[in-house]
Subunit: 343 residues, 2 copies
């Protein structure tokens, strides 16, 4: 690492996008994990400036995100969307800070590490000041696969997601609540956040379709980012990303084809021993990963591990996982990256 | 066909399980499709006997399902669960009636046709009096694949389902509504129909896990029934069946590997020309199959048709489909079978 980033000790920290669904969780993670910071500043859009948010028993006043306020920061956790990250991320770095960025702005840049601490912490080595936090669906899909992949490399991966409202932010969560309430009361609801009715409905992820592939933006991120994090640039991956009427945990149905045959019990043992994931695979009681159990949990829940009956070679497994989109899918992973920078 | 079943003309029809979610739709389908029956009797459990349901402007009184009442029936549409089907289905046949059975009781019997009219109407030939209506998730998964499979046989099929409450009956739909209402009001709700909380949650299908395979009952049905309907007893299939908080339409994420390479446009053209399915694949407007659009529709909606990027051979496609579980997944398919028996 360059000299200016070697000694992140008792850093002055800023959370950029502090009032968003992820921003709130970033602040909570810093508090709950007792992150060794010397000061915390909260930055957000102008309309939130002056409001307060609690941290370690104090009410911190939110400042407007602008050129003047992006000073005196050793570590900035950005979660305000790609626009603010592009505008203020490099500026933060130019002024001596390190940025952990939750947006997609820099994820695929060659000189930006894209890190899941359980998978590729070594990618932080030699960073240039910006570290990218991966897409939530990518993190939740591949963190459980890493302990398997590192022993028996995956050679084909197919995922279908069941993504929560939180991935589209706090306003989408509120739209899910309000539109469902309206539905139950027989009233009409005009959706404004998401492009389709959400109450008791689901729909293909509302990111633009790439005409060349037919895949939407979210699916393309899952594919490209999973390859980068695994260091497997040619790994064949297919993703189908779907929004379901769930509030804050993403689930994923996974089919993974490995290089060599793999027994479900072997996979269970490897996952049970791996960090960041928890085996929830109780066939006798039909108890498997569920969003309500994953919500508020640091670990990604992993279950339904079984031989894929569509691959007679014995090399493929099916799994079903659920992880908190706001925690391991976003805020927690970012704070874990920040913790690695302290070391 | 045997003589007694050749001339189903103006039959005396009975709906068995008339008060269930599927039963109600069976009655509606008979009415809406102007089914040429000479009389309709409604049979249900003792606690529903004496109540009435509307049909063609009349209120028909529900009779108790018992030995005495299972007479004078030319055609019985059963949807009362496997128990009543096993008890009264063969008796109906012994008394000269034909049974179209929506339960799983007889589906895998060698001498019972398992029919999706768009796929294998010829299987009705020589039936012995009982015809099975397939599992809803199987019908909705494979009806859209048939026009592709018959030209370019599928050699591997992977499905992940997003199944609605209606698959577990009217009581489950009500539990989804009531538990969601309670959640929104901050109240607790004690679920009694399904084994897990359903409000803003999803869970692996609540049928028992086969210890030999790790697949649940629903998944095993999808696999076995799809093979039987396609007449492809060795087709490699994997299924992951999940209940999502949607009221009455099932969605399915499908990956199908074909014998020869297949272009998405070819698949679109074949599906656009096929009966029982409707192409909803508007990438420019990000408009694809959704449960709310499929609900109340006869056709299964099909979209997100694209080359599977995890298979560089060009032989695999991804699709996303949505179909009304109570209609094409159950009642409509049963009435379509009955219509074939008239011919």
């Amino acid at each position: 690492m360059s000299a200016s980033y070697q000694s992140l000790s008792q850093p002055r920290v800023a959370v950029v996008g502090a009032t968003g669904a992820v921003g709130i969780e970033l602040i909570r993670c810093l508090e709950q994990r007792n992150f060794p910071l010397s000061s915390l500043r909260l930055l957000a859009s102008k309309r939130s400036a002056g409001k307060t948010l609690p941290f370690r028993g104090q009410e911190l006043v939110i400042e407007e995100l602008n050129d003047a306020n992006i000073r005196d920061i050793d570590l900035a956790l950005f979660s305000a969307g790609s626009g603010p990250s592009k505008e203020f991320g490099p500026l933060t770095v130019a002024r001596g800070g390190v940025v952990v960025d939750n947006s997609s702005a820099f994820r695929m840049d060659d000189d930006v590490p894209l890190v899941v601490p359980e998978i590729n912490p070594f990618a932080l080595e030699g960073h240039k000041g910006i570290i990218a936090n991966p897409n939530c669906a990518a993190i939740i899909s591949i963190t459980p696969l890493w302990p398997l992949h590192r022993r028996n490399p995956i050679r084909r991966l197919i995922v279908s997601t069941y993504q929560a409202a939180s991935g589209a932010g706090a306003a989408a969560m509120e739209e899910l609540r309000l539109s469902t309430q309206a539905y139950l009361e027989g009233e009409t609801y005009q959706h404004t956040v998401l492009p389709h009715p959400y109450a008791f409905n689901l729909f293909s992820h509302n990111t633009a379709i790439d005409p060349a592939t037919g895949y939407n933006g979210e699916e393309s991120k899952v594919i490209a980012e999973s390859r980068k994090i695994f260091g497997a640039p040619d790994l064949p991956i297919s993703a189908t990303c779907v929004r379901v009427p769930v509030l804050r945990a993403h689930s994923v149905s996974i089919t993974a084809e490995f290089t060599d045959p793999i027994a479900p019990d072997t996979a269970r043992r490897l996952i049970a021993d791996a960090p960041g994931v928890r085996l929830v695979d109780d066939a006798a009681n039909n108890y498997f990963p569920m969003p309500i159990d994953a919500s508020g949990q640091d670990d990604i829940l992993v279950g339904r591990i079984r031989q894929d009956l569509s691959d007679p070679s014995g090399r493929s497994l099916n799994l079903f996982v659920a992880g908190d989109q706001l925690l391991k899918g976003a805020a927690l992973n970012a704070v874990q990256i920040a913790e690695l920078l302290l070391a």
